[in-house]
């Protein structure tokens, strides 16, 4: 097996199946955290890039063509600043923003906490 993502997933599944039931107390708590961390890492490796691009497009759409090439960090920074300055206060802008933020949160939940609603 040479696929590192598949290897990590197998490690997580093995810990969950074989290790967790044998543990109690603090040890179980720490092992459960380690399993969770591995599962997050697997999702990041598999979908992280696509989800980040999806989020980036949703945020860029709020600004039009000149923002189309900005990376996600730059967009987030600009958006955070503009929101605080009240540039999304009017109802139409707020509706568009809300839709973009829903997309962003869904993308991040898909990595951190899939199934949460």
């Amino acid at each position: 097996m040479s696929d590192p993502t598949a290897l990590l997933l197998l490690a997580a599944e093995t810990c969950r199946r074989e290790l967790l039931p044998e543990l109690a107390g603090e040890a179980r708590y720490h092992a459960a955290m380690a399993v969770r961390a591995m599962e997050i890492a697997v999702r990041l490796l598999r979908e992280g890039e696509a989800l980040a691009e999806h989020e980036r497009r949703a945020l860029a759409a709020l600004y039009g063509a000149e923002a189309a090439a900005l990376d996600l960090a730059a967009l987030r920074r600009r958006l955070a600043r503009d929101i605080r300055a009240g540039r999304f206060d009017d109802p139409a802008a707020a509706r568009a923003l809300r839709a973009a933020l829903e997309t962003r949160t869904a993308c991040r939940l898909a990595v951190s906490w899939p199934g949460y609603r």
């Binding site: 720490h30 958006l79 600043r81 929101i83 605080r84 923003l97 933020l101 951190s112 906490w113």
Partner: protein, 347 residues
């Protein structure tokens, strides 16, 4: 990481300090152990025999010190002890304050000592506890009355002079504070910014704001409960002057229900029982809009603190627990977006 103080090496200094602080002829440390170590502080259990003095006899105590790194917003052990002493005098159920050592000469760092209380604090255990399930409504009413008692402490207060004055609009003071925290982290968080902006725009609908002593982390996890009854309220390090609804709403945030979502009061009991008892005990009316406003702000606050904890890992602290805390932010964003939609609909 060398976090745990070795009390054996400092035994005689600690014994002398405790004896003097309690007016005892002698204090003997019979044993000690590390209790739950938080991300913010560490707690040691002490077994001490006092000869004479106000605690004469054998006592179970807790010694609290600061961890090497703290959440920015939390008070150190010395100031937390001042709050503990003040609320103890106000009749709030807390571990009895015993002594505080602010200079660091006894153990190498400042610490506070209080009585040890026994019971369960862990949220995941409590929300599945049959004794809690059997009297959930009574338990949350009991908690509400305790919260109302905390809120009887009002500024100005000479013992609590170190707590910052939020001005006449504590809601807006909180928004300004969380923006400052985001800026200190250099975090660009559009959902949190949108929430702060929307809450700021809606703040005029809050009605009258009050300023009282708030615990600011009053929730399942910081409450000692035994047989479905409150034993003590712990962890006063976030205490502040703020609007009482901040505490009421924080307790009801979804995150602190530990998966038992239907029990909106801390995963322990129904919201109506909690709010009803709070209204009766405090004489305040909990306005549904204001409650939801503060509950949404609670999610924002916890999200910013989670980002602060995640930043400690980026700064080099090796803690999986702190690293995973950053991954609760999307969950909180989900709850925040729902809360904002509900608020707009209520207006």
């Amino acid at each position: 990481m060398a976090r745990v103080i070795d009390l054996d090496a400092r035994r005689s200094a600690l014994e002398a300090f405790l004896a003097e602080a309690c007016g005892a002829a002698r204090a003997e440390l019979l044993g000690w152990s590390r209790l739950t170590g938080g991300a913010i502080q560490e707690n040691l259990g002490l077994d001490v025999r006092f000869e004479g003095g106000r605690l004469a006899g054998r006592r179970a105590l807790v010694l609290r010190t600061d961890a090497p790194t703290r959440v920015a917003a939390s008070w150190d052990r010395v100031r937390e002890f001042a709050v503990l002493r003040r609320v103890h005098r106000a009749g709030v159920r807390v571990p009895e304050p015993v002594a505080v050592e602010p200079t660091g000469t006894v153990l190498g760092r400042p610490f506070a000592v209080m009585a040890r209380v026994f019971g369960e604090t862990r949220g995941p255990r409590l929300v599945r506890d049959p004794a809690v399930a059997a009297r959930g409504a009574e338990l949350v009413a009991e908690l509400a009355r305790e919260l109302a008692r905390i809120h009887t402490v009002r500024p100005p207060d000479a013992e609590l002079a170190f707590l910052p004055d939020p001005g006449p609009r504590p809601a807006l003071a909180r928004i300004a504070l969380y923006r400052r925290w985001l800026d200190e982290l250099d975090a660009a968080e559009p959902v949190l910014e949108w929430a702060l902006r929307t809450l700021e725009r809606l703040a005029p609908h809050l009605g009258t704001e009050e300023v009282v002593l708030v615990h600011a982390d009053f929730r399942t996890g910081n409450l000692v409960i035994r047989d479905g009854r409150l034993v003590a309220v712990l962890d006063w390090e976030f205490a502040a002057w703020s609007d009482p609804l901040e505490d009421v709403a924080w307790f009801c945030a979804r995150y602190w229900r530990f998966g038992r979502d239907a029990m909106e009061a801390g995963g322990l009991g129904p919201r109506e029982a909690f709010l009803g008892a709070y209204e009766a005990a405090s004489g305040r009316r909990v306005d549904p809009f204001a409650f939801l406003w503060w509950r949404t702000l609670a999610d924002v606050r916890w999200a910013v603190i989670a980002l602060q904890q995640e930043a400690r890992v980026a700064a080099g602290e090796s803690s999986l627990e702190l690293a995973l805390t950053g991954h609760v932010v999307p969950r909180l964003e989900r709850d925040i977006l729902d809360g904002l939609a509900e608020l707009e609909a209520l207006r």
